[in-house]
Every structure is written in C-alpha cells, then in structure tokens.
C-alpha cells in the first residue's frame, strides 16, 4: 500500500492507495498515525478513494485511532471512501462514527469551521 502524507492548513491529509488489510498495509498506516500523533497532529483526513478493500484489521485501526484522536480533542475524517470501503464500514456498524466528505478540500475546510 502507498501512503502519502501532506499537511494542508494544519490538517494532515493521508492518501492511501491499495488494500488496507492485515500485514504491511496496516502496520505502515499504524506507524504513520503514531508519527503524526507524536508530532502533536490531531486533525487528520484520510482519503480512501483508491482503497478497494478494508479488512477487519484496517477497520480496527481506523476506529482505534479515531477514538485516540477524539480524546485529544481532534478528529479523523474520511474523504472519498470507495464504494467497497463504505459498504464494509457500514456492515460492521462503524460508518456513522466518521465524518465523511466528497473530497479532501471539503474535509480540510470543515476543520476551519470549528476552529
């Protein structure tokens, strides 16, 4: 899985490409999230447009970091989740835990509205 991180308006935008599943993909994203948190970043957008599969390890990682980040006063928002990512998150009852946006811009701007 490719993980691309950039910062826009004090928001970490994490672009993923490939299946988010047990193994190197989940391990790599966990490392990325831990690094962001250790730098004090708690405003994050994860773009899932090019993620065709999210397995239960990936779901576990997303909800765990959502909880951690919210406890720190931030948020983890999803942008452009693929059809299958949405279906999977819905199946296990966690889709409504996340704020979801049509694109990165809208997700990043939503942080400014509550700042």
């Amino acid at each position: 899985m490719d993980i691309n991180v950039r910062k826009r308006s004090q928001v970490q935008v994490i672009q993923l490409r490939g299946a988010l599943r047990m193994g190197p993909a989940v391990d790599g994203l966990r490392q990325t999230m831990d690094e962001a948190l250790s730098n004090g970043d708690t405003r994050m957008v994860m773009n899932l447009a090019e993620v065709p599969m999210v397995d239960s390890s990936g779901i576990g990682l997303l909800v765990r970091y959502l909880a951690v980040i919210k406890q720190k006063g931030g948020n983890l928002k999803l942008a452009q989740p693929s059809k299958f990512a949405v279906q999977t998150l819905k199946l296990v009852g966690v889709l409504n835990l996340f704020e979801i946006f049509d694109n990165d811009d809208a997700a990043v701007e939503s942080f400014a509205k509550i700042a």
Binding site: A19, R21, M53, S56, V63, L91, V92, L97
Partner: protein
C-alpha cells in the same frame, strides 16, 4: 464434513483453486489476490468478487493469527470449488486447535464499536450466503450463490 450442506452434491463441484501457503500476512494477501483473479476468470460479477475476496481475507487472517499463532512454519490451505450453476464454495483450513464460534462477541454492540479486533467472523457471515465452521473449528467453509 460433506460439501452438500447447501444442497449442492460434492460430485457437482469442480476444483478451481487449491493453494497452501505459510501462515504469514504477506502470503495471504497473495492468496486473496490470486483467488480474486480466478473469480474474474470465472466471470463472477464485481460485487460478488469483492464480497468473496474480503471474506477469504478474513478467514485467512483468522487462520494465521488464531490457528497458527503467526508462525510461518505452519501452513494454511485455501480451496475454491464451483458448480455449473455458479455456486462457489471456499474452504480455509489451518492446523490449529480451532475455536468456538458461538463465543464470539457482537461487534455492533455498545462497548465493542471502538474495539480494534473481533469483527472477522462477523464480516464473513455478513458477506457470504452460508458459513459452516467444522468441529473443532479449524476449517471454515463458505458458500456464495
């Protein structure tokens, strides 16, 4: 266990895929991708391919973590069979002691929603049409119609 628990006689099933790999996360990604290719060759529609691939990913992940204790010296086996009507049977087997599927928590219950594990078998049951976990629990058989 007989294969005809969904009403399909074993004699009608053709072997399409049979792979044994080390119990390793990277190896199972390769199995899932290869199985998805086989499904594409069988002209299984995209939605169904996605559902089967994710169910198999979960079954293999359970086999690696719970059946083999993440020990790559152990092997897990994945088979795909189908009948002329397009019914698909997938089985995943590991050498572990098995588990009791009745004792799994409901991941949608309050208190479990933010858990970082415990959704694999639930997902498999949602994605596949019929699921059977053979005693003592180290073989899972999953049907897609």
């Amino acid at each position: 266990m007989p294969a005809e628990f969904s009403g399909v006689p074993e004699s009608e099933l053709s072997e399409r895929f049979d792979l044994s790999v080390p119990a390793d996360a990277e190896a199972i990604a390769g199995v899932v991708d290869a199985l998805a290719e086989t499904l594409e060759h069988l002209e299984v529609p995209e939605q169904k391919r996605f559902e089967i691939a994710l169910a198999v990913q979960e079954a293999l992940a359970n086999a690696v973590v719970h059946g083999c204790g993440n020990d790559p010296s152990k092997q897990i086996r994945c088979r795909l069979q189908s009948n002329p009507e397009g019914r698909i049977l997938i089985s995943v087997t590991d050498p572990g002691p098995g588990f009791n599927p009745e004792r799994l928590p409901d991941p949608k219950q309050d208190g479990n929603v933010y858990a970082d594990h415990g959704r694999g078998v639930y997902l498999i049951r949602q994605l596949m049409d019929e699921v059977q976990i053979a005693r003592p629990g180290n073989e899972i058989r999953m049907w897609k119609y």
